[in-house]
Amino acid sequence: MKTKRKLDSNTVLVFITIALFVVMYAIGCGIYQDKGFGNLQTFLNILINNAGLICVTCGMTCVMLTGGIDISVGSVIAMDCMLLVYGMTEWKMGAVQMVILILVIGLIFGAVQGFLVGYLEIQPFIVTMAGMFFARGMTAVICSGQISITEADNPTFYAWANSKINLPEFLGKANRHGKIVVPYIRPTVIIAFLVLILIFLMLKYTKFGRNLYAVGGNQMSATMMGLNVKKTKMLSHVLSSLLCSIGGILYCLNTMSGSVNQATGLEMDAIASAVIGGTLLTGGVGNVIGSFFGVMITGTITVLVNTNGKLLSSWANIATAALLCIFIILQSVFALVKARRNK
């Protein structure tokens, strides 16, 4: 039995994603060598910039595994950021208190959405679309302007946002001004990785994690096998909203501000990343490692477009869409070829 184990299609999709990422990054380094694309810090910046998105995508992956979707995440992040900032500036609340409050709100938000999806069996797209409207509207209700946290408002939070974790000095490189710039990451990246690892372990090694896959594989069967499908679906939304709240906090640590239009369309980034990472919208297939590389790929696409710096606004969008298109088609072709070979 040990001989030549068949790779199952899920794993293959993840490998395709990783391979495509490596190829794309290598090409980027080749073309934009002189613009510092190959710097270690460029790579780390992708992590720093997308720490929040990584968390959100982990949650999104969990929901998508059950065959659901959560399009409220972008708005929830906007709401979280606004509330965090507002709480710290207007109510003078402590950073820790606010973080806890945000997490609790995330839990409640997820529980309501989860209840509607799981127990009332309303389509997740519609429930979370309502959630999206609600959260976006609430953002404006909290405050319709643009507010930010400064050092004076909340030194703790400010310190969290500005602390750097330097990598070993020898990785550093002198910049044009003669300064040795030591590559660094921010604590947000560490948190994002922790979340990633925890969710990975949860999906693989806990009953709840496996239930997510079962429900997505065949809901009817899962019921017949004695799983509590309703509860599983509900919890998937709770988890998604919770991770989204964590993501919101990381996002806020990056932007340090709240505004009504923040994070619009982030749900699409999260969905696209998960899909590029091999998660199927139909459920049952996917894992967070893939989703992580999905985020890295969308992040790299952005950096490539930015580094080019000659693209008109429209071309930048078209380039992003074209790369996305190539990815999706490549994946689909690989999948079709594999399916044919399996037959």
Partner: protein
């Protein structure tokens, strides 16, 4: 409650919109008993089981389970499992995206001391289980990589392994071959010896007589009687199921080849589809009934799918009525007068939420073309005609097909093809999951169409007797290749020998 009784169900009633599926049904299961639940298609067997295990709520009646005081109502399969009732439902119900091992253990995974899933133990145990069933499969890959038969075996293994007091098997043998059925019976007898009560639903009378102790017969949702196997001869059982005397199978006789004309309807040479079936030849004459035989997974379905164009042929040549035909899509085949009743009813046959009427006229509509819509009155007429002719048990012609019982769904799909008036009809396992009365009906129909309408029919069935009764000639398949053809005087033995390949 009697010490020995595991389950009693009293006066169970259950209605669906327009149908009374159960009407004061009774059922009693005792310890160490294999209890057959019999009845025609749509008699309410599956519904009774689903009521017992909490998939459906019951309208009226009482259920008592040993070890629980008072009437029991299960709200979910989970609750039933907790009371020691393990079930394999009629349609295979597993998660194809999970590994074999997970499917065996989901919901009761072995845990490590810190509460996480212990994959090593799980895989090890799973391997023991499949080895015990003599299945040669890798438990660590997704279930979807295996055939329906294996999936069915896994579903059974899962239920059996659950350490239950009651095991319910709803038509587990419909997609198993004899060898696998034997394995299953061995398992059942072992459990019986341990005092487990087993409810066994099947349409194969031989199997009932081979393993069962008691028989409960349902008829139109009503309780028709409980009998012990010894005192119940076959004919009486069938009579009880049908509620009338059964004209014996003997009445199906082949006319011989007298009505077969010399016109070759379909003539295939060297057809093949990469990965599923190696090049083969096939010929059928007008009015002929030809069989395709072979072991499970030998490529019978693949061969006919290739002729029909469900899998596009990559090599070879196909002539229909002497004219060369290049089939790109099944529609081309339909236009050339072909019809194909697929073996996987759920995946390839039924259009779930559509009504019986729409399911019946679908292929005819496709044949006519999108812009020539069949008028509503004509649709109703056709639907009513076939509901009547095939005695499809349905609340109305507008009932969604997925609310019909398994056997009746099959009849609807048959009606779909009959109404296109095909010259050449492929019936792939038409009798799977069909009660004995209807089975005979199907066989008779096949012969009748061949004789009276000059239809050429390919008949595939896992039951050799059925094919012997209907076919004049058989193609023999093995490992995805055509290995021969038998005709003339065929007996069970000669066919088996051909399948096994002893003749070479």
């Amino acid at each position: 409650m009697d010490e020995n009784i595991l389950i009693t169900m009293r006066d169970i009633s259950k209605s669906f919109p327009g149908v009374k599926a159960l009407d004061h049904a009774q059922f009693t299961l005792r310890k160490g008993e294999i209890h057959a639940l019999m009845g025609e298609n749509g008699a309410g067997k599956s519904t009774l089981i689903k009521v017992l295990t909490g998939v459906y709520s019951l309208d009226a009646g009482e259920i008592h389970v040993a070890g629980v005081d008072g009437p029991v109502i299960n709200h979910s399969t989970l609750e039933a499992q907790e009371k020691g009732i393990a079930t394999v439902y009629q349609e295979v119900n597993l998660c194809p995206n999970l590994t074999v091992a997970e499917n065996l253990f989901i919901g009761r995974e072995p845990k490590t001391p810190i509460g996480t899933i212990d994959w090593r133990t799980m895989n090890k145990k799973a391997k023991e289980i499949v080895d015990g069933l003599e299945l040669k499969i890798d438990v660590t890959i997704a279930l979807e990589n295996y055939s329906l038969a294996i999936q069915q075996m896994i579903a059974i293994a899962r239920a059996v392994d659950m350490d239950c007091k009651v095991l319910i098997l709803d038509e587990p043998t419909s997609s198993l071959d004899d060898n696998e059925v034997e394995k299953l019976f061995k398992v059942m007898r072992d459990l019986k010896a341990k005092g487990v009560g087993i409810i066994f639903v099947t349409h194969f009378l031989e199997q009932v007589y081979e393993v069962c102790d008691t028989i409960t017969v349902l008829r139109n949702g009503e309780f028709a009687g409980e009998y012990s196997v010894e005192e119940m001869p076959r004919v009486k059982l069938v009579a009880a199921m049908l509620g009338k005397d059964f004209d014996d199978l003997a009445s199906i006789k082949k006319e011989g080849a007298s009505h077969v004309s010399d016109d070759v309807v379909v003539d295939a040479t060297n057809l093949s589809h990469k990965g599923t079936i190696k090049p083969f030849d096939f010929q059928i004459k007008k009015g002929e009934v030809v069989g395709v035989t072979g072991l499970l997974g030998s490529g019978r379905s693949e061969m006919v799918r290739c002729i029909y164009g469900a899998d596009k042929a990559q090599t070879g040549e196909l002539k229909v009525n002497g004219k060369k035909l290049n089939i790109k899509e099944p529609l081309d085949a339909i236009k050339a007068g072909m019809g194909y009743l697929p073996d996987d009813r759920k995946a390839d046959g039924c259009i779930g939420d559509l009504s019986v009427r729409e399911n019946i006229i679908l292929a005819l509509q496709a044949k006519n073309g999108m812009f020539k819509k069949i008028p509503a009155s004509k649709q109703n007429e056709i639907a009513d005609k076939f509901i009547d002719m095939l005695q499809i048990k349905t609340a109305s012609r507008e009932t969604p097909i997925n609310q019909l019982s398994g056997g009746n769904q099959q009849k609807v799909i048959l009606a779909r093809w009959l109404c296109t008036h095909p010259d050449f009809l492929i019936l792939d396992e038409p009798t799977r999951g069909i009660d004995i009365g209807t089975k005979t009906e199907f066989q008779k129909l096949a012969l009748k169409f061949a004789e009276e309408d000059g239809m050429s029919i390919v008949f595939i069935s896992s039951e050799i007797e059925e094919m012997l009764r209907t076919c004049t000639r058989m193609y023999v398949m093995r490992d995805g290749a055509q290995v021969g053809e038998i005709s003339g005087e065929m007996t069970q033995e000669s066919v088996m020998a051909a399948i096994a390949g002893g003749g070479e």
